[in-house]
């Protein structure tokens, strides 16, 4: 026989899952809340989603092209970042804010730190916080049904009563993708079912948050208040889709639990003590910064050295 065969180190078989199809599954999982946002806030929301995703993908393409790097837009990660940013913008966001946010997320937070897998902060959330600090007014003005008003979470903070049923369904003011808990949960269930995420981070996050609210809100175990806190603001979108971002969460299993606790404590503190009603975005990006420390203290014990269970 003259032909020679390929040589490589074992293993010689690979699972079917790729980075590209994980990102694709995340995009699908975000569809219910995206579609609900468009239905809820109208065609303007559709424009924001489209523009933000397109800007994110274009930024990645142009940067990689300009730097002579391999073009990686096909892996879908830029599209996911763009979509998550869009879902975190108010439906009244002007076009230039969408573009600016997307460029900041991809260029500054992701590519300048080395591209996919190297960013230490969630790009979409970092961009959101950047916009929030720079254009506080525009980012916190929410118009619903033609009326400018406070979000239920802000009403809750000033002691007004809120309709929790509307919050579950999403008939409230807020950013494009955060209002409908039901739509978010459909996507989250899908990701859990497909094995893209597990309960470790969102589970501990939400449980810790509940504990924080029950202990420190001064309301005790007030079911109505608790439900409103859970359904209000960006908590659900953050817990299921942003805190679970692989790149910026710990890789160790115990680290993920610690990270979830961290998120719950910080979100609770920000919401209860902070000036703003919101707290999820900051809680997540601050916890992102703690990840290297968390990983160091939660290095797993190997098999045969006490790590059997």
């Amino acid at each position: 026989m003259n032909e020679t065969f390929n040589i490589s180190s074992s293993p010689h078989i690979r699972a079917k899952v790729t980075t590209g199809n994980i990102m694709f599954l995340v995009l699908i999982a975000l569809m219910p809340t995206t579609l609900f946002g468009i239905y809820n806030f109208g065609v303007q929301a559709l424009g924001i989603v489209f523009l933000t995703v397109a800007s994110a993908v274009a930024t990645e393409y142009l940067f990689e092209r300009f730097m002579g790097k391999k073009i990686t837009i096909a892996d879908g990660s830029a599209a996911v970042t763009g979509l998550l940013l869009a879902l975190n913008l108010p439906p009244t966001a002007p076009w230039w804010m969408c573009v600016l946010g997307a460029v900041f997320a991809i260029l500054v937070v992701k590519q300048l730190f080395g591209g996919l897998g190297q960013n230490f902060m969630n790009p979409a959330l970092a961009a959101r916080c950047f916009l929030l600090i720079s254009f506080t007014g525009r980012m916190t003005t929410f118009v619903y049904d033609g009326v400018s008003g406070a979000t239920p979470l802000a009403q809750l903070k000033t002691g007004e009563s809120v309709n929790t049923m509307d919050m579950l369904i999403g008939n409230i003011a807020g950013t494009i993708g955060e209002t409908s808990v039901i739509a978010i949960m459909i996507g989250a269930m899908f990701l859990l079912f497909m094995g893209v995420i597990d309960l470790r981070i969102p589970g501990t996050y939400l449980i810790t948050f509940i504990v924080m609210i029950v202990l420190f809100s001064g309301k005790g175990f007030d079911l109505n208040y608790l439900t409103a806190q859970l359904c209000g603001g960006g908590l659900m979108l953050g817990a299921w889709f942003m805190a679970t971002d692989y790149v910026t969460a710990p890789i160790t299993k115990n680290g993920q639990i610690l990270y979830g606790v961290c998120l719950g404590v910080l979100t609770g503190l920000f919401r209860l003590l902070g000036r703003s009603a919101e707290g999820v975005s900051y809680a997540i990006i601050i916890s992102n910064l703690l990840v290297p420390l968390i990983e160091r203290v939660t290095r797993p014990r190997p098999f045969g050295k006490g790590g059997e269970r």
Binding site: T4, F5, S8, S9, S10, P11, I22, T72, L116, P300
Partner: protein
């Protein structure tokens, strides 16, 4: 559930249906047979035949080169043609005895068979050593050395590795189905050496027919037990198998004997049976020839020294030109650039694949998804270790317990970025181990 197992591992497509229902067929070798002098871990064997000499089937042609070594027997009768370097399935060139087959298959008398009960322990061990038996699952560690722990009275379990967790391979499966009594017989021989030990057959639940046969055969054996394991890779890895069957855990700096265990695989135990009970040294073994590029996959009783190409011809040859040919299983076997290499004591399978799955994907950036951490049976963090390895950061590599890697390949298998994690960690491990010895 209730099935015994370990934490971590993967569930690859097992591909066993291609060959599992094909009975073992005796393979006829061609004109020329090649016997590498190093088919085991340890010192190479020393040839004891002259060029031009006539040898018989079952005649010793090379003797052990030390305590950790093993002799080699001819599997045919014929003439010694040369002693020269020849490629083996790992890609290395190894000094080999080349014998021209006269197709007479004239057998040499090896030894008088003495009933097991009348044999002293030392005689049994010597017989196993003399027969050239080594770990036939792939490692090739001389069995006699394995069976000589410092404190034999502290051995509590002899574990027969019947897991056969590598995809595609069905050699052990056929052995257990066709001649389970030889496997049980081999276990009996080993138990004779360790009076405080119990024999355990650890077998995955995807082989219910074998489980039934083994249970039937061992029902009157108070010292033997069949333990059913969850079907999962790498259930047959030594440390994982010990844990699944006995709940004892060992790490890289320990031997199975430290946990009171000795593990031998099916083919090895059958070789022990053949040597001690039937009086036949080791010169043949069962090899699975399979994969989507093989026309008629099957299981063959192949003489050692036979060309792997001839064995593939016996399985109908290749369908077109395969991209990849593997000696052993797809998870831990070696990719071969040519099939002009001999079957050796450790060749469990030859697999031909029309598509090379590794070539199909370019490795990309790690997205930190943690799938490798979930899959790792050693409970370490493969993606981090691979980073350290690529940076030659030996200190961090050791701190993150890189030496605990068993190189099972589960991390590379699950990686969505298709990174060559096992390869990176494996290379760094070799460097770190070498530096440690300094």
């Amino acid at each position: 559930m209730g099935l015994l197992t370990f934490k971590g591992g993967i569930h690859p497509d097992d591909g066993k249906k291609l060959s599992k229902d094909k009975p073992i067929v005796e393979a006829k070798p061609g004109k020329e047979l090649v016997y590498p002098l190093s088919q085991h871990i340890g010192a190479p064997a020393n040839p004891i035949v002259e060029i031009g000499a006539r040898v018989l089937r079952g005649e010793k042609i090379a003797e052990a080169g030390g305590f950790v070594s093993a002799p080699i027997y001819s599997s045919v009768s014929g003439t010694v043609k040369a002693i020269a370097p020849h490629f083996t399935s790992t890609g290395a060139k190894v000094n080999s005895i080349i014998i021209e087959n006269d197709e007479q298959y004239e057998e040499a008398k090896w030894r008088e068979v003495i009933p097991l009960e009348q044999m002293k322990k030392e005689e049994i061990l010597n017989c196993i050593a003399e027969a050239g038996i080594v770990g036939m699952g792939g490692a090739g560690f001389p069995t006699r050395v394995k069976l000589s722990p410092k404190e034999p009275e502290k051995i509590e379990y002899i574990i027969a590795n019947c897991a056969e967790c590598e995809p595609y391979i069905t050699a052990d499966y056929r052995r257990m189905l066709e001649t389970p009594e030889k496997l049980v017989g081999g276990m009996k021989v080993v138990l004779q050496l360790f009076e405080n030990a119990k024999g355990i057959f650890g077998i995955e639940d995807n082989k219910p027919d074998c489980i039934e046969k083994l249970k039937e055969l061992t029902k009157d054996e108070p010292r033997m037990e069949v333990k059913v394991l969850q079907t999962k890779y790498p259930q047959g890895a030594e440390r994982q198998l010990i844990y699944a069957t006995t709940k004892r855990a060992i790490n890289s700096s320990m031997l199975p004997a430290d946990a009171g265990c000795i593990v031998d695989n099916v083919e090895t135990l059958i070789a022990i049976y053949e040597a001690v009970i039937s009086g036949k040294p080791l010169y043949e073994r069962v090899v699975t020839v399979s994969g989507d590029a093989v026309k008629e996959p099957g299981n063959f009783l192949a003489p050692c020294g036979m060309s792997q190409m001839e064995l593939i011809e016996m399985a109908g040859g290749f369908e077109g030109v395969p991209e990849k040919v593997i000696s052993g299983g797809p998870m831990m076997g070696f990719a071969m650039f040519s099939t002009e290499v001999p079957v050796t004591k450790t060749s469990s399978a030859i697999l031909g694949f029309s598509k090379d799955e590794v070539k199909k994907h370019e490795p990309s950036a790690c997205i930190n998804c943690g799938r490798c951490v979930d899959a790792c049976p050693s409970r370490i963090v493969p993606s981090r270790l691979a980073d350290f390895a690529e940076r030659h950061d030996e200190e961090s590599f050791l701190k993150w317990e890189g030496l605990e890697c068993v190189e099972c390949g589960s991390c590379s298998y699950v990686c969505p970025a298709k990174r060559h994690l096992k390869q990176a960690i494996g290379s760094m491990r070799k460097i770190a181990l070498a530096n440690k010895k300094k």
